[in-house]
């Protein structure tokens, strides 16, 4: 059965087949679908540890519901039969929502994130919750209470997040996961799939257990540009419960995708090669892509964006301050892990000492420090000013060229646990070098897409930034790249 390997677009044909099969002999194709999904997911889980919650009963029930008597109706829905997975910091009442932290290892929210209902209304099935760095901070793939996430291309390397790995390994057609400084795009780049972080506010943050409220949004990972467009169309839109959500209605990206309106130009930061740890192979691949684009009539402009190089620094400071505050509710009083203490202060200290990983504590401590009266002006306020400047530079550039291209991460998926490797770098330093290209889109609230660049070894990613609310141009450019570049999948033996 080709159910999970096909695109969402091709699912219609699959469903038709199931429908035809089920008519004459009343056999039970829904069970066949469930079995296929459960088999794939548990196999992928065993190999790569991409899930935190995976529930066979829920999958069976959901597939049953979808493919039961109401199939003719349900089959018409935008995401009919599409299998999605959610990062474990997106609230679900059906599954635990742990944020990959000991602090919430048994927490089940009494509510669902806004996107859950939107997905269900569109006919999608949420098949599980994916592994990630604790509370979504970073993309090492190693800092989870539920152990490291392995890359389906090479198990010695990180996948960055379970969301990207699940999509790559065919456990799902798409994944929703958070992106505060680039985590989702980085993981997609490490895994060689596509991911779109939309404009800030395009997808409601209701029910997202965010760590950096002003930077963070949910994004989508998928294997095809059209799938990104379909899922975005289903989950994007206004939400009166999220005052930071965009007031405009979301367009029907999928139907607009095919429309003409070619990409004629794109900008590239003139100093794009100055990223620390930038790998040689990536330089060539990136320049190759620029040539390909010029070959199809896209004029490339090298532009000076002098402050872009400080984006990851500003994002590190701002996200740390917001995180230290956002995560203050984890005090052991009302929910989650509780440490033992003779009095309130001691209980707090024990709860937070034992409930959070040392890496997260280091990050929170940094946030608590740079927001003290002593450092507020020199760190937090400066970071905010830098943010304004960077957003201004980007907006001006995008106003003129419509697209900005960079690599997604300076390096391939780092080796897991390797001393001196990329992940060790990210683990030890507060300023994560993986954020170098991705953080700017979060600071400015702009949409950004990562497109996979395959090699003989691990993949890289090409990042495209667009104007606010102009996800469509990114998707169109992505489609152009999809025509020019063969997609690749690892041969998995599960």
């Amino acid at each position: 059965m080709n159910y999970l390997n096909c695109s969402i677009e091709q699912l219609a044909a699959q469903i038709k087949e199931i429908q035809d099969k089920s008519t004459p002999d009343k056999s039970t194709p829904p069970q066949e679908v469930s079995r296929a999904i459960i088999g794939r997911c548990t196999g992928v889980q065993k190999e790569f540890n991409v899930f935190i919650s995976l529930d066979e009963d829920i999958i069976s029930r959901e597939i049953e519901r979808l493919f039961g008597d109401r199939l003719p109706e349900n089959g018409q829905l935008k995401l009919a039969g599409a299998i999605g997975v959610l990062g474990d910091n997106i609230a679900t009442s059906r599954y635990l929502t742990t944020c990959a932290s000991r602090m919430l290892y048994s927490y089940r929210p009494p509510f669902d994130a806004g996107v859950v209902a939107r997905l269900e209304d569109s006919g999608a099935v949420v098949a599980g919750k994916t592994n990630m760095d604790e509370f979504g901070v970073g993309c090492s793939g190693e800092n989870s209470y539920f152990n490291s996430i392995k890359n389906p291309w090479n198990k010695k390397h990180t996948a960055g997040s379970g969301a990207a790995a699940a999509v790559l390994a065919g456990s799902a057609h798409f994944a929703l996961a958070s992106d505060a400084r680039g985590e989702l795009r980085q993981a997609a780049s490490y895994c060689g799939v596509m991911a779109l972080k939309p404009t800030y506010g395009r997808i409601s943050r209701k029910g997202l257990l965010d760590y950096a409220s002003s930077l963070e949004t949910m994004g989508i990972a998928a294997r095809h540009i059209a799938d990104l467009a379909a899922v975005l169309g289903a989950v994007a839109g206004q939400d009166p419960d999220d005052v930071t959500a965009l007031p405009s209605a979301a367009p029907d990206y999928l139907s607009l995708l095919g429309e003409n309106g070619g990409i004629r130009q794109a900008a590239v930061p003139s100093n794009w090669q100055e990223a620390p740890y930038l790998e040689e192979e990536l330089k060539d691949l990136f320049l190759d892509q620029l040539k390909k684009l010029e070959g199809v009539g896209v004029k490339i402009h090298f532009v000076d964006l002098p402050h872009l190089q400080y984006a990851s620094l500003a994002a590190a400071i701002i996200s740390a301050v917001e995180a230290f505050s956002n995560l203050s509710n984890y005090d052991g009083v009302r929910f989650g892990y509780r440490g033992e203490g003779k009095h309130l202060q001691e209980m707090y200290a024990q709860t937070r000492s034992e409930g959070f990983s040392s890496r997260l504590k280091k990050f929170l401590t940094f946030g608590a420090l740079v927001s003290t009266a002593k450092y507020y002006q020199d760190y937090f306020l400066r970071a905010q000013k830098l943010r304004t400047v960077i957003a201004g530079e980007l907006e001006e550039c995008l106003q003129e060229f419509g697209l900005l291209l960079t690599p997604t991460t300076p390096f391939q998926a780092p080796e897991l646990g390797a001393a001196g490797g990329g992940s060790a770098r990210s683990r030890e330093e507060l300023l994560d070098p993986a954020d170098y290209y991705t953080a700017a889109a979060n600071l400015a609230g702009l949409p950004a897409l990562t497109f996979p660049l395959h090699t003989a070894g691990l993949p890289y990613g090409l990042q495209l930034l667009g104007k606010k609310e102009d996800e469509l141009t990114l998707l169109k450019a992505g489609l152009l790249l999809e025509k020019e570049n063969p997609l690749a999948w690892p041969a998995l033996v599960l």
Binding site: N89, I90, A91, T97, C99, L104, Y107, P109, P110, F111, A113, R205, K206, G207, L208, L209, A212, S213, S214, P240, D241, D242, V243, T244, V321, E322, F324, S325, N326, L327, S328, N329, Y330, D331, V333, R334, F335, G336, L344, Y348, A368, S371, T372, A373, Y376, F380
Partner: protein, 481 residues
């Protein structure tokens, strides 16, 4: 010679707003509900449930308050997070207006010793309340704490004065005036005993004539106007003794112990807390439109000071009457309405200040719960004037009106209280009284004036108080003449 000291007081007043729902979610703010029955994921600070939605009514009330206290209103409304840990603070931060309060640089006028004095308002800002810790018995002996989050997220405004207050009496007068203003504009019920109005005082003393601010203590837990007066009075005296004995005032938070009548040190303030305030990323800045601001300004009624001046200028009331009547909007509305039907300002004022307030106090009723309609007080007074009833009977009728809310004419009719002014009828009763009390008649004739009073009383007794007293006097004097 002992040095002279000047007292310097600044107040921080917290007031709960009458919005019905919480500041950032739809939970009810009703007082006295079952613990933790008015909560939701947001006000419990549940993970993933913390996207705030500003209650527009709360902002409107804050702007209204800022305007009524003569403040400049901020052009942009922003909210910040004040970060600290405590079991009654669900999110680990309180949403407040740290950087840009809604109102700044206002003032309130109080009347002290016949003078008008301005107390500066440093700022007015909007914030959310915390939950409440509950203990079994005292906080010391209780083996555990319970937390009630019903109050968490209730909208509060904090009003901070300049250090312009110079005595416990001024502090009390300021608070009373502030309460009047807030009740006039109907943003809070300001019940200190229910905690919907709370007051902390920053107190210091300095040598008279000095302009600098000295070390202050912060005084908490004063739950009534009287407690504010007594607490400050005690604390000022305590600081004087410390200084006179050669000691130094320590900067600290002190607790007013109402039962013992003393203040006690709570925690030292040597290391002032760093709340790591920063703008709340979940609440975008909001610019009130000029139209909305105008609408709010237009909704502010005549305030106590204006009404006080009008009662003196237009009605010729003594300042004392004007002060008492305008302390509450409902009371002064009642007065205005009663006057509309019976235009004798001082008489109506007397009735309200003596009779009505006495009954309200005795029955522990607020003026808003008073059953008497203001126009009925006017009718009652007219009936005294036209001789239908006597002033004495009127007081009884008034009590009946207060208890039942019935119209005065109905009570008079029902109880047959109409005054007897018929000379023939009274004459017969007077004759009978004279015949029945020869001793008193004798006394009167010997020149004992008091005996006349007794005989009048006897006539009143016979008529159950309905006899026209002037007529009774006249008849008795004639007949005993």
């Amino acid at each position: 010679m002992l040095p002279e000291f000047e007292t310097v007081i600044g107040l921080e007043v917290h007031v709960e707003l009458l919005t019905g729902t919480k500041l950032f979610c739809g939970c009810s703010t009703a007082f006295g509900a079952e613990p933790n029955s008015q909560v939701c994921p947001l006000c419990l600070g549940l993970p993933g449930g913390t996207l705030p939605k500003l209650n527009e009514k709360a902002l409107e009330y804050t702007i209204k308050t800022a305007m009524a206290l003569n403040c400049r209103v901020a052009e942009e409304i922003t909210f910040d997070r004040k970060n600290y840990y405590y079991a009654d603070l669900p999110k680990g931060y309180q949403i407040s207006q740290y950087f840009y309060p809604t109102g700044r640089d206002g003032y309130v006028e109080i009347h002290v010793d016949g003078q008008t004095k301005k107390i500066g308002i440093h700022q007015v800002h909007l914030e959310e309340d915390t939950g409440k810790l509950l203990h079994v018995g005292s906080i010391i002996s209780s083996p555990f704490s319970r937390v009630d989050f019903n109050r968490a997220g209730v909208p509060l405004i904090e009003i901070v004065t300049e250090p312009d207050i110079r005595s416990p009496e001024e502090a009390r007068l300021f608070l009373q005036k502030l309460r009047s203003i807030l009740q006039y504009i109907a943003v809070s019920d300001c019940k200190m005993e229910e905690g919907s109005m709370r007051c902390d005082a920053n107190i210091s003393i300095r040598p008279a004539g000095s302009k600098e601010l000295r070390t202050k203590t912060e005084l908490k837990n004063m739950n009534s106007f009287r407690a504010v007066y007594r607490g400050i009075e005690y604390e000022v005296e305590r600081q004087r003794s410390v200084v006179l004995e050669g000691g130094e005032v320590i900067p600290e938070t002190r607790h007013w112990d109402e039962a013992e009548g003393v203040t006690r040190a709570m925690r030292s303030k040597f290391v002032s807390a760093d709340y790591r305030c920063f703008p709340d990323p979940n609440i975008p800045p909001f610019k009130p439109s000029p139209e909305w601001l105008e609408k709010i300004r237009g909704s502010i009624p005549e305030l106590p000071d204006a009404r006080y001046a009008r009662f003196i200028d237009e009605y010729g009331l003594p300042p004392y009457d004007a002060e008492v009547l305008t302390a509450s909007r409902e009371l002064s509305d009642f007065y205005d309405a009663a006057l509309a039907g019976y235009n004798a300002p001082k008489t109506v004022s007397n009735w309200i200040m003596s009779e009505l307030l006495r009954l309200l106090n005795a029955t522990n009723t607020g003026i808003e719960g008073c059953k008497i309609k203001p126009e009925d007080l006017g009718k009652l007074l007219q009936m005294v004037d036209n001789g239908t009833i006597s002033g004495k009977i009127a007081k009884g009728v008034f009590e009946e009106m207060f208890a039942t809310g019935e119209k005065p004419e109905k009570i008079i009719e029902k109880k047959g209280l109409t005054q007897i002014s018929d000379e023939d009828e009274l004459s017969r009763i007077v004759d009978a009284v004279i015949a029945g009390n020869p001793g008193s008649v004798e006394d009167f004739r010997k020149g004992k004036d008091r005996a006349l009073g007794f005989l009048v009383g006897q006539v009143m007794k016979e008529t159950r108080g309905k006899a026209n007293p002037q007529l009774v006097n006249k008849l008795l004097k004639e007949k005993l003449g």
